[in-house]
Symmetry: C2
Subunit: 413 residues, 2 copies
């Protein structure tokens, strides 16, 4: 496998034979402080699931938790559940459980809406708070949905969207920029952007930052507080494993909560929703960014998924995540299959939890891997993505996954 | 009980003694073509639940359906479920199942977001399509969340919001009005607005209408097509019984879908989301109003709730709904308890599925009713609301509910 030269890092080609790799995987499993967490997820028998970048696998407890919500909460408390079962407070309560995973403080995170709606809200709020600055900056490799929302948010207020190559970001940040809106992890390559550096650069230009944490939350310690991140959004259905279309979250740094206004106000973000005032009066704190009724079944599944993270230090998760990625990359590198290239940075320090490969017959490669029980996903034409969940995978499973990908690639020659 | 004079209709005071009312309820149950549907819902033992205006009770099948989605779909197909299990198409597929309930055509309804977000989308789209008209009209008794969304939507584009008494609506509709935004059923009194008449009046003034159907869907035949309704939104957690915070829906009449633009565009409303274009290109039809990932667990519960409506004519539902309301009103009227007033229109033709009562000690009255196993809800200071689900209630249960409310009111004297 050819590692793209400009990305070459700690990848050691040829240093690892198959037996050596298996030994290394087993040794890592034996020492893994997180290894018991693997039992907290259910996976179909015979499947090595390497696609948590798309959708995390179900926590083992999730059915029981959702069943309890339906039968013991909804079925017993009925409408009284809104208060008696804490449904109304769930957006803040679960936000407070996500907060430590992204280095935020209690009261800075709210679970609500979908990622794109949450992003539209925060972009709208940020643009309205900086009327003298009329540019939103983003990068060409940002997730397109973020660009669509941004393009519309700027059009609506007569501002402009400046979408540049990632390497041109520093020079794109000038005194016209209201917000710099980026994803921390590149959804195609898994490359980890320099969140501290880009946040500082944006702040130096007087701009706010809005980070999309969809591919970070649950695997990368974001350190929002340390890095003075202004705004962020993220989903919970990838490495958090809260289920297909699980609710998203938004983060607003505490000292910005007073000045920013929710551009899609709704009754549950009102100071006193049950007074049914004709006029909007924002609730204090992060609550004002809530619009409408929380999706209780989705929140229940999210609660179950967050239970798996209880007592787990996100730094330990990151350590395992990097080691899983290195094992995967090293096995593929050592196999040296012609046509197979590493599309991710070679250094684990420069990746999120995802390793991407490039192959001219990527679709066939993934089909062949799938026949061997290994699930990744395709970004046509040539990209294969493998998202390695540090909680839901053992090192040995990642060994088996990489081994099957090697076999699949060899079968295409 | 005093019926507010201007509302007096087919209420017949004193004509119905307790035994007569019970006989009438049992006779109606015996003839009820929908009576078997009562078994499709689970209710706590000993509870007469009259609060479906707030949250419908769980369909009996919902746990099994959601469990199947978690275990057999998510747990087995994992990320392949997006296509293999039809998750991606669910917003349109379930929209097509709601369509006949509101008199819409296939392809006119999409399940997505929350009601207030859906309303903000459609209002934004409508305002952008009528740049020469800068007023949104609504009424003081509209659901406040709709007014909050409307106030912000107009502010954003330099337009204005004209909120008038319901009786002044016809004169408020002039050539400046872009959209007339109303709820079909008054959330306080259950009064049914004249949707055909107000829609015609808005059209005569050249305005679009946007109807909030939260308290209509599943109980009132809205007839969107017949009435040439332009836009509508609604929730599915009241009379549709899809669960707390279940996904909402939006309706855009087919001939408006081409000209209206989604103001919160996202990747899943893109013509080809998986091409990951930098530029937004709207999907054809109603799909363009989708923004982001569908909430699969909530949609699964909704599917289960819609199954209960399969083969049920909404006209039959309305017939039973009116008869349930009349029974409830007649029993309360006949009891003639001092202090207790009917806050709803006396004629069933002028009500949705909800009967509201006024009492100076409304909170105590509801507590007393609750001790008798009857659940309604309070709108302080003096309003008690009883939402009568025609699918989830028998006539005899409504008799028992009304009887307990009478006893509760008498106990306060």
């Amino acid at each position: 496998m050819r590692v793209h030269p400009r990305r070459a890092g700690d990848f050691v080609s040829g240093a690892l034979d198959r037996a050596g790799a298996l030994d290394r995987a087993r040794a890592l499993d034996a020492e893994d402080p997180l290894r018991e967490l693997r039992t907290r997820f259910t996976m179909p028998h015979g499947t090595i699931y390497l696609n948590s970048n798309s959708l995390g696998p179900p926590p083992a407890e999730v059915t029981a938790r959702v069943r309890e919500t339906i039968e013991s909460e909804w079925g017993t408390s009925l409408s009284a559940g809104w208060t008696a079962r804490g449904w109304l407070d769930a957006p803040e309560r679960l936000g407070d459980r996500i907060a430590p995973m992204i280095g935020a403080m209690p009261g800075e995170v709210l679970v609500a809406d979908t990622t794109s709606v949450a992003l539209a809200k925060l972009l709208g709020a940020a643009l309205a708070s900086r009327p003298e600055r009329r540019i939103v900056v983003s990068s060409t490799d940002n997730f397109p949905s973020d660009l669509y929302a941004a393009a519309h948010a700027v059009n609506r207020v007569g501002a402009g969207l400046r979408v540049v190559d990632r390497s041109d970001l520093p020079s794109a940040l000038d005194e016209d920029v209201a917000v710099c809106c980026l994803s921390q992890v590149d959804f195609r390559t898994g490359a980890l952007l320099d969140l501290p550096g880009l946040t500082s650069a944006a702040h130096a230009a007087g701009a706010l930052v809005l980070w999309d944490l969809c591919h970070s939350v649950g695997v990368v310690p974001v350190e929002c507080q340390t890095n003075r991140v202004d705004l962020a959004v993220g989903c919970t259905y990838k490495y958090v494993s809260a289920g297909p279309g699980a609710p998203s979250f938004l983060y607003v740094r505490h000292d910005l909560q007073e000045t920013l206004e929710n551009p899609i106000p709704g009754w549950l973000g009102h100071q006193d929703p049950f007074r049914f005032d004709l006029e909007w009066e924002a609730a204090p704190g992060i609550r004002k960014f809530l619009t409408s009724t929380p999706p209780v079944l989705g929140l229940s599944a999210l609660e179950s998924a967050l239970d798996v993270f209880t007592g787990v230090a996100i730094e330990d998760v990151r350590t395992k995540s990097m080691a899983l990625g290195s094992l995967f990359v090293d096995i593929l590198g050592a196999a040296d299959v012609p046509g197979l290239e590493l599309a991710s940075p070679a250094s684990a320090h420069e990746r999120g939890a995802q390793v991407s490969l490039r192959h001219p017959r990527a679709s066939e490669l993934l089909q062949s891997a799938a026949r061997r029980g290994v699930v990744g996903d395709l970004r046509p034409p040539a990209l294969c993505r493998f998202g390695l969940s540090p909680l839901a995978l053992s090192y040995e499973e990642v060994f088996l996954g990489a081994d099957a990908v090697v076999e699949a690639a060899r079968s295409l020659r």
